[in-house]
Amino acid sequence: MITAVLQFAQVGAGATLIQTLVKALALGSVYVLIALGFVIIFKATQVLNFAAGALSMAGAMFMTILISDGGFPLLPFANPLAPAEGETAGIVLFFVHVLIALALAAILGLVIERVAIRPMVGQPLFAMAVITLGIEIAIRPFNLDATALEGRQLGVPWGANSWDWGGAVVPKSYLVAVIVAAIAGVSVLFFFRTKLGVAMRAVAFDQEAAMAQGINVGRVFAIAWAMGTALAALGAIVYGMAPFPPGGSVSQEIHPLLALRVLPVIVLGGLDSVAGAIYGGLIIATAEVFAGQYLSQWNSTLGSGYSTIVPYLVMLFMLLVKPYGLFGTPEIRRV
């Protein structure tokens, strides 16, 4: 306890604040990515995807298979972890592998949609949600089999290194998380302006009227599942970079629960709102990280428990004040 206080004094209140803020932003980025995955699938298909946990983890698993085992055997890439730290080629290769992992995750999403979701279209929404829960349960054992007990390594070319911003320790991975989420968010917003994206919003607004325009609703569903799965996977991959809690690995303990922790985010932001996913992710992560940093100092009864509880408190409060979230659509249309 004394050492902790000493350390706190050494770092200084200002630096601690900066560190906490950056950490909140980084965690928020992970939440935003996974929340966007939920929102796109829900918006297009009205299905709340409870398989997001297993699907996102599977996507992160693809990434570890691609890189930790010395590169995917069929691809001419070397192990991106091999180049010396800071080497541009290694970093580029790393992100090429991320894109391949996302493509694989997208294909997994397509298969799930085709096999388990499409045949069930028209079933009550609750039944659909339970079906996704079944998918979660079916995929989870594969994930757990594939991860060793202590998790699969997910090394990054920049390691666990950090910058020193006037005494504040800022891990490079945190900045990567923020940039990746920003690029993904902008891409999603851009997608919604394209032909297919406009069609997806049309399907979300009025499925039958969209069909009457000749929009292929099945294709829109497939694309939503592909995108939603890839975004969730991206969130899980980013979360596997040290110094996020799984410590540079896809963890058997932490990763399966990651998507569940995003539920307060989408309730806060609104199930069908992209802006809601972004604001919700940042707000919940900020509340969580600040509670972990400051509430546990102020009163140590719960320790790190504060950071677990606070997101749900924020969510409960929001449900009382605005039942459809910050940006959600009040009534869910259904044909």
Partner: protein, 262 residues
């Protein structure tokens, strides 16, 4: 030419709504389909455009044929691609999308000629041009109807089905919409005009059908229907004594016609 022959439609496997409906829309004509609430007009439109599925409906007998090809079981996208577009009852514009985005949805199956079709729609509806970046949900009822028609035209259809385009519009707007339908028809688009406003529909139609309880109970050239006493009494309220609305079947001069059942 569109040909509906002895069509039967059942909802939820039990509710028989169309009972052997037959009608034709020859190329280049405006054909009116009249009938009171619940007669099955919207169901007819759904059956032609492949939208029964969404409503747990199924055609159990008969056929829909378009230019010689049977399309009864085709998917909506294929039917739109084939040249049949529908302006659905209640307009059904995408309220959260802009006017331009709504129009872009209409062009989903016909991207190649999008610019030409867009210009044509804007010529027909200058009002939409002024509001092209506005969110469609904030348009007035008349503008929304124009958008719904414009959106359907973006697919460059050869047959346009309009389901009660006059619904909820002021008389002046109804006249405007009517004139626009005539203009569209002059550009070479056949029109199936579903209406409760019989006067409006018959005033521009070449031919008319009156349906009740899922089948056609009367048909003929529009002018003849306009002059028909039964139609006048029941739909135009010309001889009515202001009492309760009778069923068309009860109007005394009415004679059942069965020739399409042969």
């Amino acid at each position: 030419m569109l040909e509906v022959a002895n069509l039967e439609v059942v909802y939820n496997e039990v509710i028989l709504v169309l009972r052997g409906l037959s009608l034709q829309v020859p190329d280049g004509q405006i054909v009116a389909l009249l009938g009171s609430n619940g007669a099955g007009k919207t169901t007819t439109a759904r059956a032609i455009t492949g939208l029964l599925d969404v409503h747990e409906g199924k055609s159990t007998k008969g056929s829909v044929t378009w230019n010689g090809t049977e399309i009864t079981e085709h998917l909506p996208a294929k039917i739109v691609e084939g040249g049949i577009s529908q302006v659905m009852e209640g307009r059904r514009i995408f309220g959260e999308l802009t006017v331009d985005e709504n129009l872009s949805c209409g062009a989903f199956t016909n991207r190649a000629n999008m610019d030409a079709n867009y210009d044509r729609v804007m010529d027909l509806f200058p009002r939409l041009k002024e509001r092209n970046t506005q969110v469609a949900g904030y348009l007035s009822g008349g503008e929304q109807q124009m958008l719904a028609i414009g959106r359907a035209l973006m697919a460059d259809p050869k047959l346009l089905i309009l389901d009660e385009p006059s619904l909820g519009l002021a008389p002046m707007l109804i006249e405007q919409i009517r004139d626009i339908i005539v203009d569209i028809n002059k550009q070479g688009v056949s029109v199936l005009l579903i209406e409760q406003n019989a006067m409006m529909a018959l005033s521009i139609a070449d031919f008319g059908y009156v349906m009740e309880s899922g089948k056609v109970v009367m048909d003929g050239p529009a002018q003849k229907l306009l002059n028909d006493e039964d139609v006048q009494e029941f739909y135009l309220g010309l001889h009515g004594d202001g009492g309760e609305r009778k069923s068309f079947r009860d109007v005394k001069h009415y004679k059942r016609r069965k020739r399409w059942l042969s």
